[in-house]
């Protein structure tokens, strides 16, 4: 089941980047936050908008689409941004996010 923050991340990325593949994963359960939290997310975005862009530029595009969420409830965001050919080459596999170490208890 997805929560309101997760839905808003999904909708903002659809609007900004017209992704062909989009996965918004709530990883808050792996962290030092109460059950049901929406604080730690991973997004997998495959979009033609990333064509010819550096990794930093791609991440900036995602961060900027999610400025509102990052300024608010979202504490951590892992971004995997690919073009369609890169995504096909990878076979749709992304690395695991690192484990929580306690963090800043925000």
């Amino acid at each position: 089941m997805s929560g309101p923050v997760q839905d808003s991340i999904h909708d903002a990325l659809v609007a900004a980047l017209a992704p062909t593949v989009l996965e918004v994963i709530n990883e808050s359960g792996n962290h030092n936050v109460p059950p049901g939290s929406e604080t730690h997310f991973k997004v997998i975005v495959v979009s033609p908008a990333f064509e010819g862009k550096t990794l930093v530029a791609r991440h900036r595009a995602v961060n900027s689409a999610l400025a509102e969420q990052l300024a608010g409830p979202v504490h951590a965001l892992s971004i995997q941004a690919f073009t369609a050919p890169q995504w096909a080459e990878r076979g749709g596999v992304v690395p695991d996010s690192p484990p929580c170490l306690g963090g800043s208890k925000r």
Partner: protein, 108 residues
């Protein structure tokens, strides 16, 4: 910009100018306080990089200031040769693709 923001900006600029490989992180090399920061430390160590770290959890002005400085909303942030390289995802991706070796290699 307020005086505090200007001063923070100057401190950040000095740190990245004075240290070729500079990591702004949560915690330190020995005790990272966040998995994302820990992962970047581990990758830099793996490459034998000579790097300095700054613990943003110990300094709220710097924690906010570094985000404004780079227009990047998250921490860790890695700088090499005064240039912003990226956060944990980008450093990991550059490491996996082999490109990080070039980024870290001293420029002649």
């Amino acid at each position: 910009m307020s005086d505090v923001e200007t001063e923070t900006n100057t401190r950040i600029r000095e740190l990245i100018d004075q240290n070729r490989v500079m990591l702004f992180m949560k915690g330190n090399k020995i005790f990272p306080s966040c998995g994302f920061s820990a992962q970047v430390v581990q990758i830099l160590k793996h490459h034998g990089a000579d790097f300095q770290t700054f613990n943003v959890l110990a300094d709220p002005a710097m924690r906010q200031g570094i985000k404004v400085f780079s227009e990047w909303p998250t921490i860790p942030q890695l700088y090499v040769d005064g240039e912003f390289v990226g956060g944990c995802d980008i450093v990991t991706q550059l490491h996996n693709s082999g490109e990080l070796e070039q980024v870290l290699a001293p420029k002649s």
